[in-house]
Amino acid sequence: MKVGLFIPCYIDQFYPQVGVATLELLEKLGCEVGFPLNQTCCGQPMANSGFEHLAGSCSQLFIDNFSEFDYIVSPSGSCTLHVKEHVGIHPKGGIYELTEFINDVLKIDKLDARFPHKVGLHQSCHGQRGLKLSQMSELNAPGFSKPEKLLRMVDGLDLVTLDRKDECCGFGGTFCVTEEAVSVRMGIDRVRDHVKNGTEVLTGGDTSCLMHLEGIIRREKLPLKVMHIAEILNFSN
């Protein structure tokens, strides 16, 4: 099973530790992982801004980089969704967000990880409502959550219950600057929900949401640590 690791541009540039954790975790779980060195971005920032028609060359580069793999796996729900819906690449095994891949393809039932902290999970909308990684609060349907299932396998981890379990954080791509006031307010409200319910470490499957929330947490000097879910699932000491 050849897994192509897609590390979104902002993770590559600003959060290399998320890429490292994802790679180590997949290797630990027995995957043969390759990282095509010429990958850049999936093209989502252009497409969501209305410039999907410009992103053809970017999509082509993506296809060239990943055509040799059986699976494409990425530690980002949002970028995964974009690749699935708009890039036009169809690997034999499929395109997966990290927790989805571990749940649905690797189908593990235990994890060698220990993280004795109170953890609050931020559900990113594209992961949750787009990729259906967990049940959506709007629907009258049985509950499930792929990221939560994995977090519950981590020794010592205490998962926090939030007041609004799946409200958007307000990142929204270019929305975060074009609608700065609403974006920030949405982020502040998400962070407050975590503070109120005792989160020590805020985690999620999308570094873009986490970057936005961390920006607010650092500005407000709140005692919250932000980590990508891959870093927690890969954590042991």
């Binding site: 541009c9 993770i11 590559d12 540039q13 600003f14 959060y15 290399p16 530790q17 998320v18 890429g19 790679l23 990282f35 060195l37 850049t40 971005c41 093209g43 920032p45 252009m46 969501n48 801004s49 209305g50 410039f51 028609h53 410009l54 060359s57 970017c58 082509q60 580069l61 909308c125 594209h126 409502r129 787009g130 959506m136 609060s137 709007e138 629907l139 009258n140 349907a141 799946d166 409200e167 958007c168 929204g172 791509g173 929305f175 074009t178 609608e179 700065e180 006031a181 609403v182 974006s183 920030v184 949405m186 982020g187 409200d189 970057m211 936005h212 961390e214 920006g215 650092r218 500005r219």
Partner: protein, 453 residues
């Protein structure tokens, strides 16, 4: 004013924004509670969606059938191609009957057509009889929400408005007192008005009847006391059969306010003896929308506003920031059809979180249409030049690995060495958020050192 500017002003009042968000979130929670009591809720949504799909595919036949039945019932049917024609028809009915004032229950269509302004310019006095609509009318504001028109106002605001216009005690904010005064004020109007205008929630093609849903009974009070009843409807309000009301009435109030059903779901079929009944069927851009394959199913909307109540952006920017009769996510996919230049900002006033599509009782793919409108607007030349250039540069960088890697590495070094270049007032991110701390190496650098030999 663009949505983002209006939202910026709205958010300056932090406490009020909190209150607005929490008030609408409470309505969303009420919706969840009552909707989830019905085990077949998702099946109901699917059924309603399919019925509306059928309607949109056979609209011509259903409209003709509706008209035939309505005429048989003794109703006068009018067709209006656009807002101006609609307003003119209403005015001509008033003139024919020598009437110069009317009572009006809630009708978003008349808001869309700006009928009140038109009629008052022509010397007609219009009284909105829905309490929320009356409050905003006294304040000379448009409704901020299609179901709860005055949801942006607190009881203190209502008290001030009533003190100014209805002589209530200054500072008396007691809801019971204020509604009692409004009730007496409106009761007088009901008794003196000879013409009543109502909206239409559902028009039944097989019978020619229509159903008007209110919680205050104001549509009934107006229509029953007046000599002339005019009902105005967008042509998408059609449902094929009376039995389909069993699907839509169960969905409408639960989605809108978390009630099992609206207090009044009134069926109108034919005029009483000595009374006139008119129906005005309006296009106003709907045919164009019907012809847009990606956007036609926005016409399935039954105006429940569930998408507004759940929308995290609407809750934190208020209905007026959408500068359109219908606000929120649904308004943002309907408005550009009417005027792409004026409403080019609205499809961007969303994070595309998708909650709207999930609550929609007729399963409109709202967030997907927001995405598609962005593409259409940009390709029709409605994107600012700066943005266009930025996007082109971005695409160049992301299409050329060497440019991307060099840009990333240089960018991070600059951020480290000269943080003020990004941490300043020109960068909207930095206004209320810290920038990420640039690491010394990218993941790619790490990978080359640690994996690739």
């Amino acid at each position: 004013m663009q949505h983002s500017e209006a939202a910026d002003i709205f958010n300056k009042d932090v406490e009020r924004t909190t209150w607005h968000d929490e008030t609408l979130w409470w309505v969303r929670q009420k919706r969840d509670k009552v909707a989830f009591q019905i085990p077949e809720w998702e099946l109901l949504r699917e059924t309603a969606s399919q019925i509306k799909n059928n309607v949109l595919s056979n609209l011509h036949d259903y409209l003709v059938s509706f008209e035939e039945q309505a005429i048989r019932n003794g109703v006068k049917v009018h067709w209006a191609a656009d807002a101006a024609e609609h307003n003119q028809i209403v005015l001509s009915i008033l003139r024919e009957n020598n009437i110069n004032s009317l009572s009006k229950s809630k009708s978003m269509l008349t808001e869309e057509c700006h009928m009140n302004e038109f009629l008052s310019h022509n010397g007609i006095d219009v009284i909105d009889t829905d309490l929320g609509e009356r409050i905003v009318q006294l304040r000379q504001e448009p409704p901020s929400h299609i179901v709860m028109p005055a949801i942006h106002l607190k009881k203190e605001d209502v008290s001030d408005t009533f003190h100014e216009h209805l002589n209530t005690e200054k500072g008396n904010n007691a809801p019971q007192y204020l509604t009692e005064v409004a009730r007496h004020h409106l009761r007088e109007k009901f008794l003196e008005r000879k013409l009543a205008l109502t909206g239409v929630n559902f028009a039944v093609a097989e019978t020619g009847e229509f159903v008007v849903c209110t919680n205050e009974g104001n549509a009934d009070m107006g229509a029953h006391l007046a000599d002339v009843h005019i009902a105005c409807m967008g042509f998408e309000k059609i449902i094929p059969k009376r039995e389909h009301l069993g699907v839509f009435l169960r969905l409408l109030a639960r989605s809108a306010t978390g009630q099992p059903i609206t207090t009044y779901s009134s069926h109108f079929r034919k005029p009483c003896e000595g009374q006139q009944m008119h129906i005005v069927i309006v296009d106003n851009g709907r045919s164009t929308q019907l012809g847009r394959k990606d956007f036609r199913n926005s016409l399935k909307c039954i105006r429940c506003a569930a998408c507004m109540n759940t929308c995290p952006v609407y809750r934190r920017s208020g209905g007026h920031s959408y500068h359109n009769a219908v606000a929120g996510p649904i308004g943002s996919i309907l408005a550009p059809n009417l005027d792409m230049t004026k409403f080019a900002d609205l499809p961007f006033a969303s994070t595309l979180c998708g909650s709207c599509s999930n609550v929609c009782p007729v399963k409109i793919d709202i967030h997907d249409q927001l995405y598609k409108w962005r593409q259409v607007l940009v390709q029709s030349g409605h994107a600012p030049t700066v943005k266009k250039l930025g996007m082109k540069a971005m695409n160049f960088t992301f299409s050329h690995p060497a440019a991307y890697q060099l840009g990333g590495s240089v960018g991070r070094k600059i951020m480290k060495a000269l943080p003020f270049l990004v941490n300043n007032g020109m960068n909207p991110w930095f206004k209320n958020r810290e920038m990420p701390e640039p690491p010394s190496e990218s993941f790619r650098d790490w990978y080359k050192k640690n994996r690739k030999k």
